[in-house]
């Protein structure tokens, strides 16, 4: 009686932006900050 969601592995946003030559522009306009979700959640 398991309720299992299979997860598939895809390309990350970073990989895709790099392939399209957009990564530098993205990081310039949106400085990467892995802490941002922890700031905003108020935890």
């Amino acid at each position: 009686c398991f309720h299992k969601v299979p997860l598939r592995k895809g390309k990350s946003l970073r990989q895709t932006l790099r392939e399209h030559g957009l990564l530098e522009r993205y990081l310039r306009e949106h400085p990467y900050n892995p802490a941002s979700k922890f700031y905003s959640s108020g935890g």
């Binding site: 309720h3 592995k9 946003l13 895709t16 306009e29 949106h30 892995p34 979700k37």
Partner: protein
Amino acid sequence: VSSEPLENYMDNEYFGTITIGTPPQEFSVLFDTGSSNLWVPSVYCSSTSCGNHNRFNPSASSSFVSTSQSVEIAYGTGSMTGILGYDTVNVAGINVVNQIFGLAETEPGDFFYYMPFDGILGLAFPSISSSGATPVFDNMMSEGLVAQDLFSVYLSNNGQSGSFVLFGGVDSSYTTNGISWIPLSAETYWQISMDRYMNLNGEAVACTSGCQAIVDTGTSLLAVPNNALSIIQSTFGANSNGEISCSVASTLPDVVFYINGQAFPVPPSAYVIQSNGYCTLGFEGIDIPTQSGEIWILGDIFIRQYYVIFDRANNMVGLSPLS
């Protein structure tokens, strides 16, 4: 207004499918133990960027109930905005009726076009849920939809297939090496107390007096305080970008996280990332101000080494080594 930042999801690679509404509308979502809200794009977002994703259409769902409460999804310097609504959400065959979720209405720019998933399903605690929205798993528990008040996550080491989130149970075929149970230090994120971090040759080099750690499927790397990152990079002989020589990568020892008196090693095959001929340590800097000490984030690099059980009934995290 609730807020869900997106820019820190740029390295995530694992997604699953859920449906929302009657009849069901399908969405690819990131199952994120580091947040608590569910949101997906909606048909009210009409730009080209949103057009590359599945969008929820409330008028096509007979079970949708609208609200007037707004939601904001921060995205770098821009944001997606939308509204909160209620509908039936199906996750792994479990129908959660009257589940609150965010319907994104506007989008911030062309980058969103490339986001590999449609939305996010948060699996952390209600105490950090924006707008006080009840998380999906809390509704599963309160409605008695799961056999046990826990879920578990397996991320395949080769990253290609077999990864899953299991609701309401533990797959014993993944716990043959035993389960180490660790009590939570806070009921916000899946937060635990870490004793210390040991690097190379068994030397404690960071978190030496103890620190806090969050087990987060929504973070890809091992995120550590910036001062610890400098020390770690130095001990590996890495440059400030975390780059090391690929010729030595396979000879490196395990790094070890000591948690609740037990050692949880991570081998170099997991923490060294090889790409385009370069080798980089899978650590990134993160500074989160907190009263409970410095915070480390144990992301997918760590989770791929352990079958992780997120036990809401007992407020514990269970870790079972996968090799």
